[in-house]
């Protein structure tokens, strides 16, 4: 309720501001240009260079939705409601042209110049911009307007399928932490793994030219464009940060012209793409009985006997509290939760002052009342020409975020829900709630506890650029950025309560009891608060040069950059609150209930960047770039690296001999080679160190003492990882832009990956060896993007863009013992990183295999392979592939290990983007898919009684092994998972390839004559959906899910509008 109030308030607030500003902004217009009486019409004709009319060209009033298309002979007429206007004329395969018109302008003929517009675009690259046509690097680009109508909190989930070369792995759908992990051209390094978390495998994030890993905080509405830098030529300016690719986010800035005010928002509904169907009470008991009778043939002590099961529903009707039936998944988890967003921008300026300001609000609720995510974004920037040669800019991107969650974790809560036995009391008839094996999901959702994280961040930059008059084309620029980031986490635990039912009294009595949720929760209150702060300061000095001498075009860039980073954190916890007030100072006074911690650190990096480009006659292109980079992670004297890259391009279509090839408008080949680096390790690994830890031990009086130890040997020579990248590509535009093709082949070798050579010493050595820069990994693949745009005479416009990325890596050198290295079946070397190894399953034993009929599979049945404990029909049979002597040895153990599945991260990602527009309607759809990845389905859904007699799903129930259903998908029923069937084997891995309608939207822009009457430039209404349909082999869970205890991926349906004034 509270959140909705806030939301309504915000809308009112935004609406209020909007009205104020629009009335202010439109005031001069109202005075000078009262709308309708001044309307005038311009007539004209759009032609090509030979004077032929171009049918179907678009003529549009700039800044308004007012538009028309040309007729068969290229003629048009457009009515303008203002005194004057700028017409924007566009036609596929020709450059866009702008023409100023005013009342009284005579009939005009507009001649368009051939050329693909997109090639004339300026693209953002490292530390600067380039014309796409002259670029020799592999970059892909997504325009901001493609990201706006998508209900994602940030762009991490929007890039897959849109930007070629991006491969993503979902991290679940939990609000505020649903970002996908991004990989550029796949996984090319093993990165750094600390405490089972891997770092340094993902791309560098750069926001407005400054290294800022703030992809989460940038509002998609404020994004002008996203550029992905992929090959060596593109990433070289980032030196040690570039090897995993770079994502450049450019935010919107002001432009000259009257202020444009935009206002938009959407509201939608989220629901999980997949939820399992859990067993009903009766089916659950049937399964238990089946398991019991299998394990105890003729047994007489089943937990649920057949008569008991048969009468259960009747008994439940008579006494629902003694014979409960529950459905935790339906009663605890919300199936629908709202999502909404609103935003407001003003943009404009004069010749000398340009400004942009934006305000955004995003709110996503979760599947539990307490889980949700809220974010406010505020942005303002300004570009001022102080003198004709001096440009000063200022920008600030800020956000305030709040992430809320249940006390504990949603993963544990989902686990508790899946585990909940359907014959255990979820809720008694009096409304109180019970437990199942100590889990009380309703106790968690009813608790006053919570998790809150409040995050604040600022990205601020001041820059001054001066053109130097003494050398034409030379300018210098200085920029200073200050990026403070902090969060406060507050976790308040109030013990989870359920009611214990006493059936010995009449009526039954209920007493409160504590649930410890499988000991993940305490029975006492506690409050934990944590503060984390990270301030980064970046200084940049630029020298830019650009000039042309006849056919020679020369560009030069040099940048010096210093980054300093300061981090500090502290946390405090108090246990045992006598009064349940969630403030630290109101907790227990007993010092044994206190816990404190904190630390701080600094870091720094210095880099010198250069780039020199040369173009001859728009035919031959050459570029050299690189960085001399220094980083504090490494030992003095070993801190600096020089990482260069070179690239060449040849625009064949500009050659004279090629002019005769009519259907090719543009054809370029390009290639690049270079080095870039990746910072692995965690810093200071060159020092011999004894980390201190608190609460190590205690003696005598119970006072705790500190401890220290050598965690890992030091390596004074530790250094960065080097990537050598090669890229060759073809870019072409054919048939006047009807077909656009860009194809890249890339290959990279990563050397110096940090690996622990532990296996070169005995395990008895007793200490982790220093990591060595010893690992080598190859990665190669292709990228393809194809696009077409077609406009029909009736105004229908269709654009289809497809992209495809395939990236496959291979370990070339890792530490491996001879046992696996020398066995082609088991060797990690030569295989993709994170290839899954395990046993090969031959299927399930059948009743026919039990020749003796004793219920067991043993040597007496002629089965002489030792697996894992006792075996029965319906258990998994493994392939005895080998043994210590290299031949099958009648025993399943690690000698039988083989490749059983592909890594979890897909090797293929592709997208097909279709967008059409007709009259005021627009329809777009993004189909996105991935391939060559696998998923482990072993768990609650696919096994009987996975944990503590837990419930199972119909996916298992309907596909389980029984004597009547021998050729089944899942093993027999058992009361507890068997050691045999739980082994890692290909029995449990399925392909997680999928194709899904990731996003679709349908919009309608109301005609200009109506919107202008409402004093709007345009007004668009739309409906949009996310994850609407999915096709794939995995039918019972989302292929992008992180596992059954992960937060389900959401399907979203929404409606919204955008308008501008």
């Amino acid at each position: 309720m509270k959140r909705i109030d806030c939301h309504i308030k915000l809308w009112f607030f935004l609406a209020f501001i909007m009205c104020r500003i629009t009335s202010f902004a439109n005031d001069p217009g109202d005075r000078n240009h009262p709308a309708s009486p001044l309307a005038f019409t311009v007539n004209g004709r759009v032609v090509d260079g030979k004077g032929n009319g171009l049918p179907g060209a678009t003529v549009m009033q700039k800044g308004y939705s007012n538009a028309t298309t040309t007729g068969a002979d290229g003629s048009f007429g457009i009515t303008i409601q203002q005194k004057s206007a700028v017409l924007v004329v566009s036609y596929v395969g020709f450059q866009v042209k702008e023409i100023s018109v005013r009342a009284g302008t005579p009939d005009i003929t507009i001649e368009l110049t051939p050329g693909a517009n997109s090639l004339e675009d300026i693209i953002v690259v490292g530390y600067g911009t380039q014309r796409k046509v002259l670029s020799t690097a592999a970059v892909s680009r997504v325009k901001g307007d493609q990201l706006v109508a998508v209900p994602d909190a940030n762009i991490s989930n929007s890039l897959a399928g849109r930007a070629t070369g991006i491969i993503t792995r979902s991290t679940g759908g939990r609000p505020g932490s649903d970002n996908s992990t991004l990989y550029v051209r796949g996984v090319a390094t093993m990165g750094t793994t600390v405490n089972n978390v891997t770092y340094n495998t993902t791309p560098l994030i750069v926001v407005d030219g400054v290294i800022r890993n703030n992809i989460n905080e940038v509002d998609p509405n404020n994004i002008e464009s996203v550029t992905v830098l992929k090959d060596a030529a593109a990433v070289a300016p980032y030196g040690l940060g570039g090897a995993n690719g770079v994502i450049l986010i450019t935010t919107k800035r002001g432009n000259s012209g009257a202020p444009t005010l935009s206002f938009g928002g959407y509201r939608g509904d989220q629901q999980p793409t997949y939820l399992p169907k859990m067993l009903s009470a009766v089916d659950y008991m049937k399964l238990k009985l089946e398991a019991y009778l299998t394990e105890n043939p003729g047994g007489t002590n089943p937990t649920y006997s057949q008569p008991y099961i048969d009468s259960y529903v009747q008994n439940h009707a008579k006494n629902p509290d003694l014979y409960p039936i529950s459905d935790a998944l339906n009663d605890v988890v919300k199936k629908h939760s709202p999502i909404y967003q609103s935003n407001f921008q003003v943009r404009g300026g004069s010749q000398n002052v340009k400004y942009y300001a934006g305000l955004g609000y995003f709110n996503q609720s979760g599947m539990f009342d307490k889980s949700g995510y809220e974010r406010y974004n505020y942005n303002v920037n300004m570009d001022v020409n102080i003198t004709p040669t001096t440009l000063a800019s200022f920008s600030l991107n800020g956000s305030v975020q709040k992430t809320s969650d249940v006390d504990g974790s949603t993963g544990q809560l989902f686990r508790g829900v899946y585990k909940f036995i359907p014959v255990a009391p979820l809720k008694f008839t009096n409304g109180l709630w019970g437990e199942s094996s100590g889990n009380a999901p309703l106790g968690v959702t009813h608790s006053d506890g919570y998790f809150h994280q409040y995050t604040n961040n600022w990205l601020s930059t001041i820059a001054l650029e001066q053109k130097l008059p003494f050398i034409k084309g030379l300018s210098v620029k200085g920029a200073f950025s200050y990026d403070p980031y902090n969060y406060v986490q507050k976790q308040w635990h109030v013990p989870f309560i359920y009611w214990s039912q006493n059936t010995t009294t009449t009526p039954y009595t209920y007493t409160p009891a504590f649930s410890t949720q499988e000991s993940s929760a305490t029975t006492y209150t506690w409050l934990n608060e944590q503060y984390w702060q990270n301030n980064t300061i970046t200084w940049q000095g630029y020298i830019n040069y650009h000039n042309t001498f006849g056919k020679h075009d020369i560009t030069g860039l040099a940048v010096a950059e210093l980054r300093n980073n300061k981090q500090m954190d502290f946390r405090s916890r108090v246990n045992n609150f006598a009064v349940n007030i969630d403030e630290l100072s109101l907790g227990s006074s007993n010092r044994n209930d206190f816990d404190l911690g904190g630390g701080s650190g600094t870091g720094s990096q210095v880099g010198y960047v250069y780039r020199a480009s040369y173009a001859y006659d728009k035919r031959f292109l050459a570029e050299a770039s690189g960085r001399y980079d220094g980083h504090y992670y490494f030992a003095p004297g070993k801190r600096w690296v020089y990482l260069p890259a070179f690239s060449l391009g040849w625009i064949i279509s500009n050659e004279k001999f090629f002019k005769s090839v009519n259907f090719v408008d543009y054809l370029k080949v390009r290639g690049s080679w270079g080095e870039s680096g990746n910072l692995t390790s965690t810093g200071f690994q060159y020092l011999n160190s004894y980390p201190l830890r608190g609460n190590a031990y205690s003696f005598g009086d119970g006072a705790l003492v500190q401890g220290s130890y050598v965690q890992i040997e030091n390596n004074p020579n530790i250094t960065w990882e080097i990537s050598k990248k090669t890229d060759v590509a073809v870019e072409a535009n054919l048939w006047k832009g009807l077909l656009r093709v860009e194809a890249d082949y890339f290959r990279e070798r990563r050397t110096g990956m940090l690996l622990s050579p532990n296996i070169v010493v005995p395990q008895e050595y007793g200490l982790q060896l220093a990591q060595q820069n010893a690992g080598i990994m190859d990665n190669h693949g292709i990228e393809l993007s194809i696009g077409t745009t077609r406009r029909f005479n009736n105004g229908l416009q269709v654009a289809i863009d497809g992209n495809f990325t395939y990236a496959n890596n291979k370990l070339i050198q890792v530490y491996e013992t001879p046992v696996t290295r020398n066995n082609p079946r088991r060797s990690r070397t030569g295989r993709a990183y994170n290839t899954v190894f395990g046993y090969h399953a031959l299927g399930l034993f059948t009743t026919a295999d039990d020749k003796t009929g004793d219920g067991f599979i043993t040597a007496a049945d002629g089965y002489n392979v030792t697996q894992f404990g006792t075996l029965r029909p319906g258990d998994i049979k493994y392939a005895d592939i080998s043994g210590p002597a290299g031949v099958p040895d009648g025993k399943i153990d690690s000698y039988d290990e083989t490749v059983i599945a592909r890594p979890q991260i897909p090797a293929i990602i592709y997208g097909i983007n279709v967008s059409t527009s007709w009259k005021g309607f627009d329809l777009s759809a993004l189909f996105q898919g991935s391939g060559m990845s696998s998923f482990n389905v072993y768990g609650f859904m696919t096994v009987a009684g996975f944990n503590n007699n837990s419930n199972s799903s119909y996916e298992y129930y309907n596909n389980r092994w029984t004597p009547d259903h021998q050729n089944s998908k899942y093993p027999r029923a058992y009361s507890a998972p068997t050691n045999n069937n739980g082994q890692g084997s290909d029995f449990w891995y399925v392909s997680s390839s999928y194709l899904r309608l990731k996003n679709a939207s349908l919009g309608y822009t109301i005609p200009s004559r109506i919107s202008s009457r409402l004093r709007m430039k345009n007004f668009r209404l739309y409906v949009s959906g996310q994850n609407l349909f999915t096709f794939g082999k995995l039918k019972f869970t989302d292929p992008e899910t992180t596992g059954e205890q992960g937060y389900p991926v959401q399907k979203i349906l929404l409606a919204g509008f955008t308008t501008s004034f």
């Binding site: 019991y292 246990n575 003696f699 130890y709």
Partner: protein, 582 residues
């Protein structure tokens, strides 16, 4: 100019790492060096804080299918199947018990060796009194970690200084023989005993309580000698298979090994026992309580501090439901086999026809330890934290079903109809990290039991054997053993007394291994007690007691008398030979 710029930039790359000590500061003073040794103490197995323990591997307890012990009892102990991450995972025996796996033990040993090496190198920074004590403490800790290897693996590589990668000669070591490993450990302990730098015992209030003592050193030595003298290892043949390298036993039988063990126990009793420094604590159930830390029976223990560094023990054992609350994981389910070992109050075993035991009233007239340690059907249950007393019912009662009712299934609720309450800290409601009671590795009762056993084997049931065993019995108000027992009868009496007295103290596993009875007791069905009314509809009949076979895994294989070396450890050190039978 440019070079100057770069130089100053390199300076701007200097940052300080603040969270660690370095080679200089770590060893500069006694207080700094103590910090390193504190961590060494923390390497002692944290047995109270995890659900798997050594008793799960025996016929005393029916733990859940979640644990490695379940696989072990299924005959599933494999050096090579620990690579896969799914639930089935590896079958690593005791490997999942805190710091009891091969690489973890050697990591602990290296820490001891590093301390000894570095403290010796920086000796001039310390007083000799501090130095002498701390070196012997580190030696004791190292010996203790080696003892775990010795008990479960037999002969192992012996490393007494931190190895360096460059010294490839001493880097790849083969397994020493069983005898060499024993001698290595006992020689270290003898050094400590002869040095005499350590206190014999620290009592409550002493700030050094919890540190290694002479008492702990002598106890450990005697215990290892007792194990080594036992039939499995003190034999010309090892039951698990041919042992040409003598890593799984002496390869010969020699009755004087019993005498050696008896002498060590006797020295303990003579020098410090009988209430001089060590003795039996007066009360047999409060011994473990937090309030009686460091009492006169405690010889060697791991330290816990309530709340801030407490244990989870209470959460794993005891009744699952108390006063309607789902409280524990119910991991300690005493088997009918164990329950039957408890004597009658008259001191007689149930098997004695004159004991007065009535199988239809099995919980009547039993000895004191039974009522204090075992939770049976109808047992009153009251801990200090409980607002009221509860009665725990495990019977199958259709009229008033109890949540603790035996369920023969895989929930936490007992499958045997028993829970236990021995060692549970009564102060705290079962929860994570609350209990501050110490985990006791050795107590004085073991000196007496060990002496009685070794002396009986060495020379027969003489008066000193009677005295030792009767001291244990008399404490719990059991009468003396009858006079005139044969050596064999005395052996049975000692074994039974040991099983009862030390139940749930993680001693039984080594006992069934060293007595060579694991292949008998772990290859038969274990039992629970089914209690039903003859008229279940209204409970108007009588309650009948029927032991029911659990049908849980019981496929112990002979090779399991010792653990295998993990396959990856073998792969990394080609000089290692695998334990016989694997």
């Amino acid at each position: 100019m440019g070079a100057l710029g770069l130089f100053s930039c390199d300076k701007s790359l200097n940052n300080q790492q603040k969270t660690s000590l370095d080679d200089n500061t770590q060893w500069v003073s006694e207080s700094n060096a103590d910090i390193f040794l504190n961590d060494v103490y923390d390497q002692l197995p944290d047995i109270y804080s995890q659900p798997e323990n050594f008793d799960n591997f025996t016929d005393d307890n029916d733990a859940g299918f979640y644990y490695n012990s379940w696989k072990y009892k299924d005959g599933n102990l494999d050096p090579a199947s620990n690579n896969y991450t799914l639930f089935g995972g590896g079958a690593t025996g005791i490997g999942t018990i805190s710091r009891c796996n091969w690489p973890a033990i050697y990591t602990s040993i290296r820490k001891c060796n590093t301390f000894i090496q570095q403290a010796t190198a920086h000796k001039s920074n310390y007083s000799s009194a501090w130095f002498n004590k701390r070196i012997d403490e580190a030696r004791f800790n190292r010996a203790f970690h080696y003892s775990i290897l010795f008990l479960y693996w037999g002969g192992v590589p012996l490393i007494s200084t931190p190895q360096t990668r460059t010294d490839t000669v001493s880097l790849f070591l083969k397994r020493s023989t069983y005898a060499e490993t024993l001698n290595f450990i006992t020689a270290t302990l003898d050094t400590i005993l002869n040095n005499n730098y350590l206190a014999v015992k620290y009592s409550k209030g002493n700030p050094d309580a919890g540190r290694a003592t002479l008492g702990a050193a002598l106890m450990l030595k005697a215990y290892l000698q007792l194990v080594a003298a036992s039939p499995t290892f003190n034999s010309s043949t090892y039951p698990g298979g041919p042992d040409p390298n003598h890593i799984a036993g002496f390869g010969s039988a020699d009755v004087t090994r019993w005498a050696t063990a008896a002498a060590s126990f006797k020295k303990f009793m003579d020098d410090w026992g009988g209430g001089q420094t060590y003795g039996l604590f007066s009360e047999d159930s409060t011994f473990w309580y937090e309030d009686y830390k460091y009492n006169q029976e405690v010889i060697w223990d791991r330290q816990y501090v309530s709340n801030v560094k407490g244990s989870n023990y209470e959460q794993y054992g005891g009744p699952v439901y108390v006063l309607g609350n789902y409280l524990t994981w119910g991991n300690y389910n005493p088997t009918q086999e164990l329950v039957d070992q408890f004597f009658m109050a008259n001191g007689k075993p149930l098997t004695d026809p004159s004991s007065g035991y009535d199988p239809q009233h099995p919980y009547v007239g039993r000895e004191r330890r039974f009522y204090k340690w075992i939770v049976y059907d109808g047992a009153p249950y009251k801990m200090d934290w409980m607002p009221a007393q509860d009665t725990i019912y495990t019977r199958i009662d259709q009229v008033r079903p109890s949540p603790n009712q035996i369920d023969f299934a895989s929930t936490d609720v007992s499958n045997t109809a028993y829970y236990f309450k021995k060692k549970l800290n009564p102060k705290y409601r079962p929860a994570t990290g609350l209990s501050g009671a110490n985990y006791v590795f050795f107590r004085y009762a073991e000196v007496l039991l060990g002496y009685a056993e070794a002396q009986n084997e060495a020379v027969g049931p003489d008066a000193s054997v009677y005295n030792a065993i009767n001291a244990i019995r008399n404490r719990v108000s059991l009468p003396d053993l009858p006079a005139g027992l044969t050596q064999s009868q005395m052996r049975d009496a000692i074994h039974q007394e040991r099983r009862v007295e030390l139940c749930f103290e993680n001693k039984r596993f080594v006992d069934i291994l060293r007595w060579k009875i694991a292949d008998q007791v772990l290859t038969v069905d274990l039992h629970g007690m089914k209690i039903v009314n003859t008229v279940p509809g209204d409970n108007s009949g009588v309650w009948t007691y029927t032991p029911v076979a659990l049908n849980h895994p019981h496929g112990f294989k002979m090779k399991q008398y010792l653990h295998p070396i993990p396959q990856d450890a073998l792969a990394q050190n080609p000089k290692l030979v695998q334990t016989p039978g694997y």
